[in-house]
């Protein structure tokens, strides 16, 4: 079985930065990613757009275009790269190498590595409003992916609903591309700037981000897109697909016809791999999500398993680049590949840069607080999309004595469908915490088991341990 110094899962900003750093230090590195090309979600299809479709760079903006440089360095780094590969199991014995089981190119392959870096990033927080399962409803991130990867956009009658920087960025990209947005439904509670004010002095370290945010708001302000503010009670309506969207704006009921509704309530760490490896996690009350416990070098509670980027807590692309570098420098040192003094100097530099990037986060968390209504959900709104389990059923399970998500799963099959709880895990934790009057930390999360991606019998049968 092939052995590497470092295996990296995810070729976004954190994974690519770590790969480049580790290769510079002389480590053997393999990187696997589900997507067909490097870049992660933030720099998705950066190679194609920088090459054959340069017009898209102007639409997507300079933060997107800036990814081309790191992607090129990554491709030249000499790290082995498996795109379109699904990691479906990782084994981390107490004393020894990590072993990864990956479906790639129709064959299941296994290899080992001394250290593992999980750089699987973030996913959008699921937004369980009535009707969110209807065709025609998807996430803002999904629409942005369609734009980046294929130059595709939804038409006609496109509504954007939610809160947060990504929503505003995508709206600005639509304006730049001439894509018509019928209305923007802001769920951000009123008083965002007042809430942000106390955090402003510390956030000034991240003045570039603040300036960008200010420019975004100004661009949208002059765009003429109708904006509904203080939106609550959002619901998508339709029979076979989305037809109408109902909501309240500052308390007043509104109904709009719509063919497309894009939802966004911020992003949260993708928990699947750190949960599979039984890493310790804690509840982040400001971002209303779990995040893995990490050392100042990015190591989890499991020896030689590291997390870099948004998978360890939301910090954005540049923070991911720095945290990937920090983890790779630490791993290189453990492999004996870096001279102590120079390695430490590099880590201190990267840590300073990371701190500057993260300075703006408390301000953003205060301005765009994660939704608190999810914890209070009840009734027939779908929580688990795969097994079609309602909020009322989750509450009922709590009343019947289910102390946590794993018992609710056994009662209801919530979290047992193909997505394995990715779409309902956080919601189930929040509802159970509310119903039982306990903290989400105490309630906990689903126990994640392999395989974490669907594997065909053919891929299983074609197990190739020699590769």
């Amino acid at each position: 079985m092939t052995r590497f110094d470092l295996a990296i899962i995810g070729a976004g900003p954190a994974g690519m930065s770590a790969a480049v750093t580790a290769r510079d230090a002389g480590l053997s590195v393999i990187v696997v990613d589900e997507q067909p090309a490097p870049g992660g979600q933030i720099w998705r299809a950066i190679g194609r757009n920088a090459g054959a479709r340069p017009g898209n760079l102007a639409i997507l903006g300079e933060d997107y275009a800036s990814g081309a440089k790191l992607a090129a360095r990554f491709e030249a780094s000499g790290a082995q790269f498996w795109p379109s590969a699904s990691v479906w199991h990782v084994d981390s014995p107490d004393d020894g190498d990590k072993s990864l089981t990956v479906a790639w190119d129709g064959v299941t392959r296994q290899f080992t590595a001394r250290a593992l870096l999980i750089a699987t990033g973030a996913m959008e927080r699921p937004v369980p409003v009535p009707g969110w399962t209807l065709p025609g409803v998807m996430t803002v991130g999904a629409a942005q992916t369609l734009l980046k990867s294929s130059g595709l956009y939804p038409e006609p009658s496109l509504l954007l609903a939610g809160s947060g920087p990504l929503l505003l960025l995508f709206a600005a990209q639509c304006v730049a591309a001439g894509i018509k947005i019928a209305a923007l439904l802001e769920t951000t509670p009123p008083g965002a700037y007042l809430r942000g004010l106390p955090h402003l002095p510390k956030a000034m370290l991240g003045w570039r981000t603040l300036l960008k945010g200010h420019r975004l708001k100004r661009q949208l302000g002059v765009s003429g897109i109708p904006v509904y503010r203080a939106v609550t009670d959002l619901a998508a309506k339709g029979a076979e697909r989305l037809e109408r969207v109902r909501f309240r704006s500052a308390g007043m009921p509104v109904e709009l016809e719509a063919a497309h509704l894009l939802l966004h309530e911020g992003v949260v760490p993708n928990p699947q791999l750190t949960r599979l490896l039984r890493c310790e996690h804690h509840w982040d009350a400001a971002q209303r999500c779990f995040r893995p416990d990490l050392s100042d070098r990015g190591e989890t509670s499991v020896d030689n398993v590291f997390v870099a980027g948004d998978g360890g807590g939301i910090g954005g692309a540049m923070a991911a680049v720095h945290s990937g570098r920090i983890a790779a420098l630490e791993i290189a040192e453990r492999c004996g590949a870096v001279n102590r003094p120079s390695g430490d100097v590099e880590i201190v530099k990267a840590r300073d840069a990371l701190r500057a990037e993260l300075a703006v986060r408390p301000l953003l968390d205060a301005m765009f607080p994660p939704p608190d209504w999810i914890a209070r959900l009840d009734g027939d709104v779908t929580v688990c999309r795969c097994e079609e389990v309602s909020a009322a059923a989750i509450r009922n399970a709590a009343a019947l004595g289910a102390p946590g998500p794993n018992q609710a799963k056994a009662f209801l099959r919530a979290g047992m469908g193909p997505c394995q709880g990715r779409m309902c895990g956080l919601t189930v934790t929040e509802i159970l915490a509310d119903a039982r009057g306990e903290s989400p930390e105490r309630i906990g999360y689903y126990r994640i088991r392999p395989p974490i991606k669907p594997v065909t019998l053919g891929e299983l049968a074609a197990l190739d341990g020699s590769d």
Binding site: T145, S150, P418, T456
Partner: protein
Amino acid sequence: MLRRLPEQKGRKVRFLFEGEQVSALEGDSVAAALMAAGAGTTRTTPKSGAPRAPYCMMGVCFECLVEIDGVPNRQSCLVEVRDGMRVRRQQGAPGLPGEADDDPV
């Protein structure tokens, strides 16, 4: 319905959706190509038969599951469309590979 911005360079790819010929651009995911072709519903749920379509486009929601070349449960947002692919909606619980009738080509 999805529309495409002007000046999206790329080779045209032809594939079959429910036996009908559909075209896309090289580099499109199957999920993107289906939505661009106006597929609407791309699967129905095993429990109630409710209509679904791609939701996250990044491999986490599993709503875009379809049958590709006779293999069910494929995440169509993670698969690039190729010439001659045969794609079908996934109706309810998937059967075993090879169980479904082949498209009349």
